[in-house]
Amino acid sequence: MSSLIALARPASLPWLVLHDVRVKARGREGGRVGRMIAIGVLAILPVIGGAAMAWRTRAAPMLPVGSLGYVGAVLAGMLLVMLSSAYAHVLRLGRDRGELELLLTAPVPVTRVVAARVAGVQAIVALPFLMLSAPFFLFCALMGRGGWLAGPLVVIAVAVTATALALLIATGLDRLLGPRRAKLAAQVAGIILAATVFGLGQAPNFAPDWFDAQLKLLSHRPSAPLDWPAQAVFGQPLPLIAVLGLAFAAAALSARVAAGRLEAAPVDSDALPATPKQGRRARFGGSAFKVLYGKELKLLGRDPELISQIGQQLVFMVPILALIFTDGQITPQRLAAAGVFLGGTLASSLAWLVLCAEDAPDLIAAAPLRRGVATRAKLAAALTPPMLLVSALALLVLFRSPIAAALMLPMALLAGLASAAMQAWTQPPARRSAFRKRYRSSLLMALGEFILLGSLAAVTRLLLVPSWWALAAFAVPALLLAGVWWFRPRPAE
């Protein structure tokens, strides 16, 4: 990387982009060899995938019909997903404020510095879609439709457009609402956007008739300028040039607008002094348990960013749970199982926040507390919101199946306690801001939690059937928890 940087003209756009890539690459875990292997695999996989598709269908190639309506709808969906992802990255653009300020004080045009940062976002947004679509485009090319090789270029153009839109919306909201409120509004918009995309993606499962009707409508629609992106995918030169030109014009405009915003104020609203917020009059008195419990609930309730992240997690989970547990019909037994899973997931998130992301651990450690008081109070705080949520679900099923409602509550409590225990035993202390990234270094932990909660949900459903298999299913979380406890990292001290 350093030799590549040496080739570029100092302070030019490629030089700044390569510098950014170097800094980000060095922040990742794993050595140089590991990174090279990962890049190699990422580059080769699409080629292997496309070649394999072409080889398997060589006798009767199933080439796509190439309806402009279908392709246009797919591109529109892709733009929405990319916009959601770009938005999240744009909000984090100014986080490394110190380094950014160094660049901003250098005699380099601000637009160029911003363009270099934005290029990183564009790459992150485009990469997953390029990886997914490249085999398909390659397959089409190998089957004689060379024009489809323009497809990856259109994917890049859509990513560039999505990033530009995200930058423009973020800047607009900033001016309209101020940085802090804009951040919250963006997070809420992000949840709605992501939920919309996710819901549309699930439409074939939930409303197959409606979905088919929309597809028919798309395929019989007359051609329009909105079809340019689809025509560009098929390799038509003029639409391709127009799409690429428009995307890069939007990128240049947004970089200019964002540069103005960066010069005027920091992108990261955390760097700004907060607007004074009045709190309620504090009440003195109360046991250590009570003040700790109250403190945790206050901190959770006063962090809109965290609430929106947790809300997003739950919104994504609802359709998945509906698919897994309802199987087309909603019964109290299935709802009880879904409630246990949902409650456990929420408890796990909150348990991580209160147990692992304590803002002042030394303060709690220096307090004259009896053993276990702090943990019990924190657990109680982490379990309160999920138990309220599960209680509401239990009320829904109470009249149809009192047993399901009665079983849902203790099983959800058990799921919450079990997932909280996993968090406490395995997760290192961290800052609250790391909430979204907490599983990034431990996929095993994420998988373990999924199995734990899934098996407890299964136990709930089997108990309601009723079936003796429930006892066997109960062995899974029990063994899993025992294993996690046994292999938990021991503190050095």
Partner: protein, 245 residues
């Protein structure tokens, strides 16, 4: 007649981290009712020693007694007597100063009837009264340090331990902190502080301990430390001579 119980008595204290001996066979005696400055170069073991006193780290060997209470055998009783104020304030940005003080009072078991007027007095004294119901997230470093100091004092600790209490404070905030420390001692409390600002230690501390590589290399009043040296020797000269030897 019995000798007065010292505020802190450390004997043979030792602590190692992954092979690095941070504190070695340290003996220290801090009399009650005084300001004691614990000085030393970076990495000398000051913070590690104080963290062991406050129960935040477990020593490998040695004894710690706080006003006669064995801090290792009965850490909860010892913690009741101590307040710990590190250089990074132990605060919650989403709580208001009043809520923070109510929280600390709850942790240390101070009844509401005592805690509420004391909180009001501290907030007034530290010029935080107007900000008492505003969340700390927008506060400057100096204001946060003052909130943390109020938190440390809300349970009337007999032993107040401060690690670099003046770091990042402006002149007015630093003055307020020093005044409060002097008032605390005048009211019968004891203060142990670490600082790199030697003038502060020279001016407000009755006794000074200099620690180097985990061991106490000199201890006493300023006059005792200067014995055998040229007249007018400053603490800075003494420190550089002892700490870098």
């Amino acid at each position: 007649m019995h000798a007065p119980i010292p505020a802190l008595h450390i004997r043979g204290l030792a602590k190692a981290f992954e092979g690095f001996q941070a504190v070695k066979d340290l003996d220290l005696l801090v009399p009650a009712g005084q300001i004691y400055a614990l000085l030393g170069p970076n990495g000398a073991g000051k913070t590690t020693t104080l963290r062991m006193v406050t129960g935040l780290a477990r020593p490998d060997a040695g004894e710690i007694s706080v006003f006669g209470v064995d801090a290792l055998a009965d850490p909860i009783e010892a913690k009741r007597l101590i307040a710990w104020l590190p250089d990074e304030p132990l605060l919650y940005d989403k709580l208001t100063p009043n809520e923070y003080l109510a929280f600390i009072a709850g942790l240390w078991g101070v009844p509401a009837a005592e805690a509420e007027p004391r909180a009001e007095a501290l907030l007034q004294r530290l010029t935080l009264w107007d900000k008492r119901d505003i969340r700390c997230e927008g506060f400057s470093r100096g204001m946060k340090q003052k909130v943390a100091l109020a938190g440390a004092l809300i349970h009337s600790p007999r032993l107040l331990i401060l690690d670099e209490p003046l770091t990042g404070l402006d002149a007015a905030a630093a003055r307020a902190v020093k005044d409060i420390l002097l008032e605390h001692v005048a009211a019968g409390g004891t203060v142990i502080l670490t600082t790199h600002i030697l003038e502060v230690a020279e001016r407000i501390a009755q006794r000074i301990g200099i620690i180097r590589a985990g061991r106490l290399v000199a201890e006493g009043t300023m006059a005792e430390l200067a014995v055998g040296r040229a007249e007018g020797t400053t603490l800075e000269q003494l420190f550089l001579e002892l700490a870098d030897a």
